[in-house]
Amino acid sequence: MATATARAAPRAGILARPVAPMGIWSWLTTIDHKRIGILYELTAFIFFLIGGLEALLMRSQLVQPDNTLLGPGQYNALFTMHGTTMIFLVVMPLSAAFFNYIVPLQIGARDVAFPRLNAFSYWVFLSGGVLMNLGFLIGAVPDMGWFAYSPLTSSQFSPSVGVDFWVVGLQVLGVASLAAAFNFLVTIIQMRAPGLSFMRMPLFTWTTFVTSILIVLAFPVIAVALIELMFDRLFGSTFFNVTPAAAGAAAAGGDPILWQHLFWVFAHPEVYILILPAMGIVSEVVPVFSRKPLFGYPFMVYAVVSIAFLSFTVWAHHMFTTGLSAIAMSFFAASTMLIAVPTGIKIFNWISTLYGGSIALKAPAMFALGFIAMFTIGGLSGVMHASPPVDTQQQDTYFVVAHLHYVLFGGSIFALFAGIYYWWPKITGRLLGDGLGQLQFWLMFIGFNLTFGPMHFLGVDGMPRRVYTYSPGMGWELWNVVATIGAFVIGVSVLVFIFNAFKSLRTGERAGDDPWDGMTLEWTIPSPPPHYNFVEIPTVAGRNPLWLQKHPELAGRHVPGADPIATDTGHSGSEGSGAESHDGHHAVHVPDPSYWPLFAGAGIFVAGFGVLLSAGGNLSLLAVTGVGLFIVIVSIFGWSLEPVNEPVQA
């Protein structure tokens, strides 16, 4: 918090400003998008390890028929928490980590549009993650699947408070996602550097933009569904309850299918929320490592945007077996097949970018290539169950498990690792070891295919998903053993990554500003970037601005007359890297740290906790929720009284 050091501890609003430049309080009160990005990354990685352990436990149970390592209840809890964790606590926040760290750099901004809202998002995300996992402490773990199908979730069939942990945790996570998405939407619309028009934006910024739109439109729907479920469980309403609330009362008349519709209206866009950022990362990595600008940039953009439209029109493809009418089936089958078109366009564009390029097979490129191959397989199995009769065969079998892991693991996680290897030097100033990176890639790639490839066969053979064991003699033994071995190979690959990360932090090769000969603005500033990112806000004259400057011949047709990145010092590295600019005499506009986002996040935690306390049956404990909301209100009040920046003490 370099800018703060120049100032006396000022008092404006209710609390004095936090001023510590380092140490724990500086992290707790930070509103620097880069630090928040790092917090997201670390938190999400810890959840990745937890979710991974849950997966390894499940695979250990399934290694042989009639295994008794886990009971059915434990297995249910594990697959519920594994799915929920990986989707909401790993892939989404890992993407959010890059939104935070990279997008402001790519658009030439000094921070996001609402820095304190950004910190708030992180603390609420952390609260939601903790609330979600709190059930482990008291042995009431959510155990109804990440889709929480009704009527399984009703008080009658799930009397334990496990479901409530899921409801409250997910609701809180939704608040965090919404706050972050609004912020990135406004940031990208409003804070682009001069000259950076929409059609010049890097693809990762584009996918962040579209992902934010999807979050903004999809999360309100799950919020409503969760509110309704919470009302059913807490206050005896009958949104999804089929059976009467009390013995002798009239039938409640609720329709469990309503839950499925509301859930998938949210959850299909959600799968694009999970994959679009990954596609954005790959669209950054592939051109840089094949030294060719992205092939068909406008089509890439149109494909991303049309996916945003289409993803709200396909949800019932998850419900082909619920008795939809023939017309509805045809509609949703057709729209689902249609969405494969923009997806296919992207795959062909990446391949065309690679074609004829001088490809450097560094670790980020390996993961990106892995992504393209694995995601293509997942997309193909997706189009297969877009056909209702085929899906009727595949639904609830391991074939679907194979599909969703090829898109989510082979897709999202591989791309996120590509992003980690690609941007790590920008974030830490040191490169990750490439040899260890290659080792990790191959272990993960082989392990992944060993684990999930055979699940296609198991699925076609009829092995049901979400069941804790199977009988011998079904012909499923071999592939289950292979899958379990593969899972542990993946585990080893993650250990290799952790080793690589620690090694890089201690002794990694210094990266310099631009280790990959990159093409976007984040590579014009030092690694790690100074607090204020850019000494002078750059002016952008075309796509791939840094290539326009360094290698006009690489940057394609858009060679302009003007200096592609005009700042008064040109390359800011020389001026911005030293400590001399840290004394604030640049007077750059960087927001000051604040306590309020942390307090507001804590208030949300207390509010959620209150709901959980009352879920035991004592509704008067909702008073705790009231206290939590009061803390939130006070914090927002303090927040709005506090100026974004303290006046400079001249």
Partner: protein
């Protein structure tokens, strides 16, 4: 950049009051239509059109979308259109289309 966004020609108090008068009138029509037995068969379309008109008037004049930057209209209409599409689809799914099998 284009910082001098035209201080949009907000309608004045007079126009606001005219709009309010129209809104009041439509509301009166809505409620009276509800009570006229002869109009029952067309009640649904009539009410939908009337309330859509009120909606549009408030959005265009009181929320200034008619005069303001088109980005705002885009953001709002995208959300509105998605919500409408979803709502209509639900009405089809739950009320109008014949389920394939009834449990």
């Amino acid at each position: 950049m284009s910082a001098h966004q035209p201080e949009h020609a907000h309608p004045g108090a007079q126009q606001y009051i005219t709009i309010a008068a129209i809104l009041t009138f439509i509301t009166l029509v809505e409620v009276s239509v509800y009570y006229i037995a002869a109009l029952r068969p067309v009640l649904l379309p009539v009410l939908v059109v009337l309330s859509a008109g009120k909606f549009a008037l408030v959005v265009m004049y009181y929320m200034h979308l008619k005069f303001d930057n088109r980005l705002f209209s885009g953001m709002f209409l995208f959300g509105l259109a998605t919500a409408l599409f979803t709502a209509i689809a639900f009405i089809f799914l739950f009320h109008l289309l014949q389920p394939r099998f009834v449990t």
